[in-house]
Symmetry: C6
Subunit: 196 residues, 6 copies
């Protein structure tokens, strides 16, 4: 099934954990960065809260441009398209925030993302990671999709402690405070050039 983790690390593709109509679910977030004039679009039946998360993720990325080989003026000479497949399934909520940011940063920097990692967490403009809900169902979905490591907001630690060992077995849980910690876990290494 296509929602299983990707067979190998890719640029601009990150696995998120979110809520959709069918409950906890994994989402494969794809970002295309193309030469352009700063246009931004997001497709895949995305609700307004998730659209605002994407806007916050872009602003955060602008605030750190210059690092990670990200062109300082990418918002003037690139077009960015975020698409979340299964285009007929409505998706919403703030918990894809850090996944969106990671996918954007990977696409802009040309750095691959670990394919066995998934993540969930709201993002702020300063790159803080805020807690999210539905953690148990998201972890179950992650396991079904073959994920090995999951990045979780530090403020959800007490929720994890209430989840049964059976669910957690086979998953490495990493608590994250901010995007720096997310990127350290998710990006493979920073030896490549910017994608274009």
């Amino acid at each position: 099934h296509y929602d299983k983790r990707c067979d190998e690390p890719q640029i601009g593709v990150v696995r998120g954990l979110a809520w959709t109509e069918v409950g906890g679910d994994t989402l494969s977030i794809e970002v295309n960065v193309m030469p352009g004039t700063g246009k931004f679009e997001i497709t895949g039946q995305i609700g307004d809260v998730m659209k605002e998360s994407a806007r916050a993720a872009i602003s955060y990325t602008r605030s750190i441009s210059g690092s990670h080989n990200i062109d300082k003026v990418f918002y003037t000479n690139k077009d960015i398209h975020i698409h979340i497949p299964q285009g007929a399934v409505p998706k919403d909520g703030p918990s894809a925030g850090i996944t969106l940011a990671t996918a954007i940063i990977s696409a802009l920097s040309g750095i691959k993302v670990h394919n066995k990692v998934a993540m969930t967490g709201e993002i702020t403009l300063r790159g803080r990671v805020l807690p999210i809900g539905g953690l148990k169902e998201k972890l179950l979905a992650a396991k079904r999709a073959g994920i090995e490591k999951v990045l979780i907001p530090i403020d959800n630690k007490r929720d994890i402690e209430k989840i049964s060992e059976e669910i957690l077995t086979g998953l490495t849980i990493i608590y994250v405070r901010n995007m720096d910690e997310v990127l350290k876990e998710a990006l493979i290494k920073e030896t490549k050039d910017a994608s274009k």
Copy 2:
């Protein structure tokens, strides 16, 4: 009836299989590429999921421009109009994704499309082909329209195996994983110049 396959291969016209108000149906997707400034429009009472599929198809096409004789900056010097006739019939869903991409690529490259081929499948920004629903009804519609060969997402293979021989007789089913495989089956050959 106009929905029968075209009498001969054309540029920018591809036969899709989709759901409309009347069930499984064939759709004749037309793409006009005109000198312009990068405007895009889609008409034919197209729902928002299908519109997003068209956006994903265009982003995919931008990511492969340079190949297939597609002008690397077509999104700045061409206008693209996608129209799906029977303009009064509402059409929606993600399953026209690969058909939209094929019609756009044919129109931009000036390469004709086999007129006896139809196809169905969701497209991602990376050109992956995702599974779709309503396969039996779509195949029946294809046969009624005189189609000989149908391109199907590889992840729908198990659905095909459940469909009776009677329906499949006379149809050649080709399983596709990504747009490279779609284009290899659908485009006639790559010896023409870009359309303009």
Copy 3:
């Protein structure tokens, strides 16, 4: 009554047959082409399906510009306004497609349109003429308006064969396959210069 045919051939005015709130009806479609920057507007309480027909008619016209004395870059240096009088009567549906295209082409080329001709048919981007509904009521409306010749999609031929002789008496029915055939019947001759 103003809906009777025009007293003499005009540029940019074509009689269509369509459905409105009051059933089969004739519509006098007017097109103004003005020096401008490529703006397009359509007025007269036009529904979204008819608006999309007008967009398809414009794209078709762009694809044949250069012929019929139509300026190759009219979409950059002309403004086009389509108005369908009786501005309080809602109008919709795809069957004005070929009428819209004929009026646009007449206005852009400066070629007059026969005033005793009416027409009905959906248009595609390639200029194909697709069948429409409500033919009997449309023919009755045409007769009431003093029309002598009606252009009908070839795929409606079998519908005509079911209509009583009494209704058809006095009307010359011309079956059309594509816009080339429509223009051959509707345009008076091609000896004038482009309107401006």
Copy 4:
């Protein structure tokens, strides 16, 4: 009461007869033409049919620019604002068409309009005057407002013939076929320069 006719002829102010929430009514249509870049706005709680009438009136005016001292490129170097006072009363319908055109032409040409004239009639892009409804109530409103002469579409002649002498006494009815006839009756004379 402010709806009485203006005390003296003005530029860009024309009295129309239309339907509002309160039945047949006179409307004082004001047009400001200002140096600008071609922007157009209409205010006064105007419904979409009346807005489309204004668009048709502007296109008609563009088609006759050059005559009446109207700057040939006014749509690029002027801004036009149409306002219909009593801004809280919803107004709609096509019957203000020729009034809107007259007010626009007066404002653009700097030619004053007779203050004892009112008018009603739908306008087409070619300047034809189409018939309207509610004639009796509109004439009563005109008399209450002190109007002496009313311009009426020629196709409403038979409606006038059914209206009692008592109502018509004191009103001079002028039947008009097209905008040329409207302007001949409404504009005072053409000896002034364009307003700016």
Copy 5:
């Protein structure tokens, strides 16, 4: 309470009388004029009728620019922001028209407005003052706010005559016909330079 009259005359702040959810009320209309490119915005939960009044007030102001030290091309090099505080209270209706115009003209000209004056009246593009409703409640609100002089449309004179002496005591009523008369009463004097 903040709705009391300002302690001293200000530029770009005018006291209006209008209807809100709570009945007759005073509104403190603030206008900021800033170096810019001609953008206009109005905030404060303003309904569409009041927004159109603001548009009419701006067009009127453009028609008199050059006088009152108002820059002739302010609509190209200034941005204008109108805000009416108590941002959570919906406000609508045409009766703030002359107040809006006075505040805009004060802000553009840099001329202060008398702080003990309030006003109510619809404005037209020509600067005429049209009558409004709810006069008694508005006068009561003016008195509560410490207003001493109120500008009223001349066509509301007969309404004033029906209001009891008790309400009118302490208020000076000035009847106004047009904006010239409004500005003569409201603006302090014209000896200052334009605000910027």
Copy 6:
């Protein structure tokens, strides 16, 4: 919990008190100022009244640019993004006005904001602070979040006097009349350069 006060003073982050779905609440308002072209966006499920407060806060800031090291033309060469976390919680009302202004001014000037201060109050274009509602609930929320000092509109003084000592204990209440007083309490000092 993330809503506790920040651990140390930051630039462009200010704690507000407002109403959300859950009653009185603290809001952490973040502002990013980025090199750009004057675009403005606000995210976090913000209602229209709060959006208008942000517009008023920006206009106020434009009116004082030049002071506080704020670039006089920031509205042409910066993009501003305001985000209020907990992106799934709807937020509305005018009471975040002075908080929004403070966060914008901090981000534009590069001056840090005291992290133990929270504030609530409507803002006007002139920088006046207007009274707000729900004061008791907001103060309780402030205490829960570890706030030590709260800025309150002077016109809410009588509301404070009705609140029990128990609630007020541990909170320093500062009454403010205008933004000058707000900034004097909230900004740490003005010795830094503008942020970029």
